[in-house]
């Protein structure tokens, strides 16, 4: 599935004034690609994800999924929230079945499919455990399976690794990137971590400070064949990192 973001602007009304979160943002996410959105805090990254998830409507412009405007939450778009947000009171099995359960699609076939996903990603033995008994990486994989369980065409990832420590983060982001590539889904990752974006994506969209506008778009064709860990060691990595760093224009 492909996504077209077409001249999107978003202004919020708040008691103490109007907040312009996004201004005239346009870019496209081709089928089967992994696109990262990088920007400083408060650049409207999360707003963009809310719009893509159909939770809000843009003030101007349009967001198109396979040419059709996104009108509300749809099973075609799967959302992976900040931190894993697994429900502590549910077993892993009942956590990954949350989506089908809510959609009234908790069928035998669906359960088989989810069971296979758990087995593929080495979580089958932990099916009856509760989330607190799992490591950070396993929890993250579990959150991904919960998203995949409703078979979305597009995955939205909202800084899913931000709560993990550095080493776990490297391993988990590589792991998740591999799973997403294998599944052949289109993915959009929001992050403030430049290295993470370079290691995982086919395309990087750099957003500016509020109001968020598109600063630059990078296609990572030359690193296409490398896996996330190899990319971090590639010669192009540092150059691209520095370039994006400049574009972000970080002031402290």
């Amino acid at each position: 599935m492909h996504i077209e973001i077409d001249h999107v602007s978003m202004r919020y009304q708040a008691p103490d004034g109007e907040i312009e979160a996004l201004r005239d943002v346009s870019f496209s996410v081709p089928d089967h690609t992994f696109v990262s959105i990088v920007g400083p805090s408060g650049c409207g990254k999360s707003t963009l994800l809310s719009l893509l998830a159909g939770l809000e409507k843009p003030t101007d412009g349009a967001l198109l999924l396979d040419g059709e405007p996104i009108r509300g939450p749809t099973e075609k778009i799967g959302f992976m929230p900040q931190r894993d947000q697994l429900f502590e009171w549910r077993s892993i099995w009942r956590n990954v079945l949350l989506g089908p359960e809510i959609r009234g699609d908790d069928t035998k076939a669906r359960r088989e499919m989810v069971r296979t996903l758990l087995a593929d990603y080495a979580l089958a033995p932990f099916k009856d455990k509760v989330p607190s008994q799992l490591s950070g990486g396993m929890r993250q994989r579990c959150a991904l399976i919960r998203t995949l369980a409703v078979e979305p065409g597009v995955l939205l990832l909202d800084e899913p690794f931000s709560a993990l420590d550095y080493q776990t983060r490297l391993a988990v982001s590589a792991d998740i990137a591999r799973i997403i590539r294998q599944s052949g889904k289109t993915a959009i990752l929001v992050t403030h971590d430049i290295s993470e974006a370079i290691s995982m994506s086919d395309r990087i969209v750099v957003l500016s400070h509020r109001p968020g506008t598109v600063r630059a778009i990078h296609d990572l064709t030359e690193m296409e064949s490398l896996n996330p860990m190899e990319r971090r060691g590639a010669p192009e990595f540092q150059a691209l990192f520095n370039q994006i760093w400049e574009e972000l224009d970080v002031n402290v």
Binding site: S50, G54, F79, Q85, I102, R103
Partner: protein, 267 residues
């Protein structure tokens, strides 16, 4: 793990822990025995007037008398019944209203100042009003008990509902969950701790309501025995009733603990 696999340091640590725990238990029992002994002795040696302060032996005697006449079970039963009904209705009504407030932002915004005032108001002031409106009987006592527990329940539960992680709410939204599903599958289960904490608080509050109510209107119950005992200057009866009250409150508190353990095992 068997004893052989433990290192000597670990074994020494465990032994020390066990000894410490035994000491604490022993001291607790000793403290109680000392207080009771002093109380009894003080009365017998004439340091205190047993007519005013009673004594452990006289309390036991009174309890035995109450038991034989059947009064003990009657009064205890009446108070426990009122507390259980008031506790149940107060908690249930409070939880339902809290769900209503969570459901409707308009309702919660409109009702907020009223809840704050009603929560701050000493509910005992409402006693006379209940008596005039619903009569000097069990109904008034139960109304009093509900009044005392319901507002705290609403405020605690509502605060718990509002503190659910917004990211989890967002997740539910993207999965297309209805408001009812969000309540059932996220908000309520996320607040199990809040619920049981509220229940524990309400055990104490319900007893306050029942005893206050019985002070005002009753013809039976532990509160009635306390007031009656003090009016006829039978301090043995007052002390015995207070002791029964403490036991009943502990039992109810423990019942909540058992219910919580059962609940967690089931889910």
């Amino acid at each position: 793990m068997s004893d052989q696999t433990l290192s000597p340091a670990r074994r020494a640590y465990l032994k020390r822990r066990k000894q410490e725990n035994t000491t604490v238990h022993l001291l607790r029992i000793l403290l109680l025995a000392a207080l009771l002994g002093l109380w009894e002795l003080g009365g017998r040696l004439g340091w205190m007037d047993v007519f005013i302060v009673s004594s452990p032996a006289r309390v036991v005697q009174t309890l035995a008398g109450l038991w034989q006449s059947g009064d003990l079970l009657h009064h205890l039963g009446v108070s426990c019944f009122e507390t259980a009904i008031g506790f149940g209705l107060g908690t249930l009504a409070g939880a339902l209203i809290a769900v209503g407030l969570w459901w409707s932002t308009l309702a919660s915004r409109v009702l907020e100042p009223y809840l704050v005032v009603l929560n701050a108001l000493p509910k005992t002031a409402l006693g006379p009003i209940f008596i005039v409106w619903i009569g000097a009987g069990t109904e008034s006592i139960i109304a009093m008990t509900i009044a005392i527990s319901v507002f705290v329940t609403i405020l605690n539960m509502y605060a718990g509902f509002c503190s659910v992680d917004p990211e989890k709410l967002r997740l539910m939204q993207t999965l297309g969950a209805t408001k009812w599903q969000t309540l059932r599958k996220l908000v309520l289960p996320a607040n199990t701790d809040t619920l049981f904490n509220t229940l524990r608080v309400n055990v104490g509050l319900s007893w306050v309501g029942v005893i206050m109510g019985e002070f005002l209107v009753s013809k039976a119950g532990l509160g009635y025995l306390i007031v009656y005992g003090s009016q006829v200057f039978n301090m043995d009866l007052v002390m015995a009733s207070v002791l029964l009250l403490a036991c009943a409150a502990i039992v109810m508190y423990q019942l909540v603990q058992v219910a919580e353990r059962l609940w967690r095992r089931v889910t």
